[in-house]
Symmetry: C2
């Protein structure tokens, strides 16, 4: 069977798809902040209803003790591969709210862009995936492959209960491969296939220098100040060029191979424009291109840091406590726990005598992932992108982290193809996040072709170890 009638159907349904995406975006599904618990629950109810309406079976919440995932299946293609289709319904917090031109949960069209929190990351591409399955069932009454839709609710918080979900529902989630709606395109003009992603781990740090906040007139010049001490610790993480200054943390990083260098160089990438477009200041590890650093080298970023008086006016205090939230992007070869431990050891060694350092979160997350170049997922994606773009797709890696790929590989031996349609300029995790509206039509064409293409491989071909 050809996927063309399905593609045609989706073309005709574009406005209705767009409306459903907007309804999805109106739901404030911020997973990290308990204040949004109702928005999370509403979004799950919305998805359950949606998956049932398009004809999926066994629709249910998969609860691992955190934010449940939403699941639905169509398993009517015996002998064909079984594909988990992954997306996530949770989004980043919208703050700072004052910087949004239009409210984050009121999707708004401006200049061919759909502005809303989660539009790019990743409700847009998740909607493309759901609508593709819906169209196959509506037009042909069947899908070319068996489908298990898995829409996660904790991607933005590092998937804390995903291990437990997969443990509890391992039988339900058995499959031959996964396609992820997360992990987008690297370029608007060159077709790319994501063959890997950096990993992520984290650490939250509390520095204490006294039992209470002190008056700077009465103690200034005689005691340590928690902000000075935190600053000294943070300043010690990188050298003046911006490279990580913790040798133990770099030990296990895999050296770049020839193929890595060649693939990275194959993507048209204007380093100067990349930095200038966001008004940034280029910095980082010498000896690597920016794309190499972004995808194949680790990075430490302090995501938040605070202490003392931050209100209006001034307050002459010596703060007794200061905090920093730190995340580390992991390169291939690095183990999240080992890296977090190396960072912790460095911080403890950097703290001056007497300074109390406590770690509120440490470790977790996931290692970097890599998909072999001759994997059926890559072959199928190559065919689809050749057909839709007329160009040879370039292999790229993501700098961002999708913990799901590592967890599903580890626990269910599934490889993942990232096939999202978001683009790098869409201000994810920042105010005024948007989704390029033409990406919806592109995705709705490519996804049906991909499912059709995957049907040509026997289920056993999808396991890298077994080939």
């Amino acid at each position: 069977m050809s996927a063309e009638p399905v593609v045609q159907h989706l073309r005709e349904q574009h406005d209705a798809v767009f409306e459903r995406l907007n309804a999805f975006l109106r739901l404030p599904s911020v997973s990290t902040d308990p204040a949004y618990a109702q928005g999370m629950a509403d979004t799950r109810a919305f998805l359950v209803d949606w998956l049932k309406r398009i004809g999926l079976n066994d629709v249910q919440l998969l609860d691992g003790g955190g934010q449940p995932a939403v699941y639905g299946a169509w398993l009517g293609a015996p002998g064909a591969p079984t594909i988990i289709v992954y997306g996530h319904y949770d989004v980043q917090p919208p703050d700072p709210l004052a910087l949004w031109k239009t409210p984050p949960f009121e999707p708004t069209v401006r200049d061919g862009r759909l502005y809303a929190r989660g539009a790019s990351d990743v409700k847009g591409s998740t909607t493309i995936a759901i609508e593709t399955v819906a169209a196959f069932l509506a037009v042909q009454g069947r899908c070319p492959v068996n489908i298990k839709l898995f829409i996660e609710g904790e991607e933005e918080t590092g998937s804390p209960s995903l291990h437990e979900i997969v443990r509890r529902y391992g039988d339900l989630l058995k499959a031959d491969a996964m396609i992820s709606a997360d992990g987008g395109r690297a370029s608007p003009t060159v077709p790319t296939i994501n063959v890997g992603a950096r990993g992520l781990t984290k650490l939250e740090l509390v520095v204490r220098t006294a039992a209470k906040e002190l008056h700077s007139g009465r103690y200034g010049g005689s005691v340590r100040n928690a902000l000075h001490e935190l600053a000294a610790i943070v300043a010690s993480l990188h050298d003046s060029e911006g490279a990580i200054a913790i040798p133990a943390l770099m030990d296990a990083v895999a050296p770049l191979g020839e193929r890595d260098r060649r693939d990275t160089a194959a993507l048209p990438f204007d380093e100067v424009a990349f930095v200038a477009d966001v008004g940034g200041i280029a910095a980082g590890e010498p000896g690597f291109t920016i794309r190499e650093r972004l995808t194949l080298r680790p990075a430490i970023d302090v995501n938040g840091m605070w202490g003392g008086y931050t209100g209006a006016g001034s307050k002459t205090v010596i703060p007794d406590e200061a905090r920093a939230k730190i995340t580390i992007r992991l390169a291939p070869g690095q183990d999240p726990e080992q890296v977090a431990q190396a960072l912790k050891d460095h911080i403890l060694a950097a703290a001056r005598p007497g300074v109390a350092v406590r770690f509120e979160t440490i470790g977790g997350g996931s290692p970097a992932s890599t998909l072999a170049a001759d994997h059926p997922l890559v072959q199928a994606a190559t065919s689809v992108l050749q057909a839709t773009s007329g160009q040879e797709p370039v292999h790229v890696r993501l700098g961002a982290t999708v913990p799901i790929t590592a967890i599903f590989k580890e626990m269910l031996d599934l490889d993942t193809l990232m096939f999202g349609f978001n683009l790098p300029d869409e201000d994810v995790h920042a105010p005024n996040e948007f989704f390029h509206i033409p990406s919806i039509a592109l995705g709705l064409r490519a996804w049906p072709l991909l499912l059709q293409e995957l049907a040509q491989f026997p289920p056993s071909a999808f396991r890298q170890d077994g080939r």
Copy 2:
């Protein structure tokens, strides 16, 4: 005339005085935060009413464009000195509110202490001053000296409009000397006379590294992070011992003389206990005792620092902006503007190429003040403290800053005796601020004797330059 009947009257009135102090403390007069504008206005109305009721004349608000001061006078002693009695009605913000055992604006007695924001700094001592004048007028129908009560409303914000108030009301404020209810006792057992204070200046710093917040997966390892850059700047302000690492800022600091060293050493002071009592970590400039550092050497403290995501959970961003509020305690010899400029120059030099640094507040404040040892104010205080304690008072300097003393010296050529009764352990500027209740009775005895003593000097004797 003897002050003894006045002292006796105040002893009998102790409970009524205590009630009036409590009413004063219930008014939330936080000057730095516009949210407390009504509390400030209510406090001014309360003071105007109080000063009128005790029999002061010409009671009025002195408005310099900021928080007005409250003024009232009794000028019925021709030929006697005219003394400005200074206090302030504004208090520090009460946050962090969660750490208060009882609400900051509900004065509460526990263990001989009166807990409330402003109890120590400085509504307690301001009340002693007002009640002393009230008692003279009630008992004798007159005061031994001419009195001009001046209750400021901006002490906790560095007195931004005090210059303008003194400029506008210079004629009204003409006097021979000032006694300040601010600037307390250095020890509960040894009588002390404050003969000076450190100055204060400040700077608020904004570091920018990009046009917007960036996703750490997409940019991590390729660009500067505002928090890393702010940390590097803050870490450069001090050396590892905690001494200021900015030579240009130390240039004008007056070297310690023999008298300075001797006076400082004369006060019983347990350096280890001083730091241990607040769970602190001793640090600072080598070659000086802690008290020398606290009173005769400058100190830089970052009072607040923040940037990026500070909410619950994690957010994988590279912050584009970070901020720090910095204040500098000034030693004798230092000029506030020159010091702020030296700090600014250092920060600009420390910022890495491309990092944008903006200063939102810079300079202002006041230099350190010093009162000569043979000044009539010191002689009068010496007599009073000898009489009330039976001990020889020790000369001390304050580490904290009272801008009023510098401004009145500069603009009206008035010297100031600090004669507050607060003690160093009273958690000023911090949660659970309190005032030792026995200090009220001590103050109500010493203040009448002091006014009586000052009446013995001719007005011309109070000008240091003219003696």
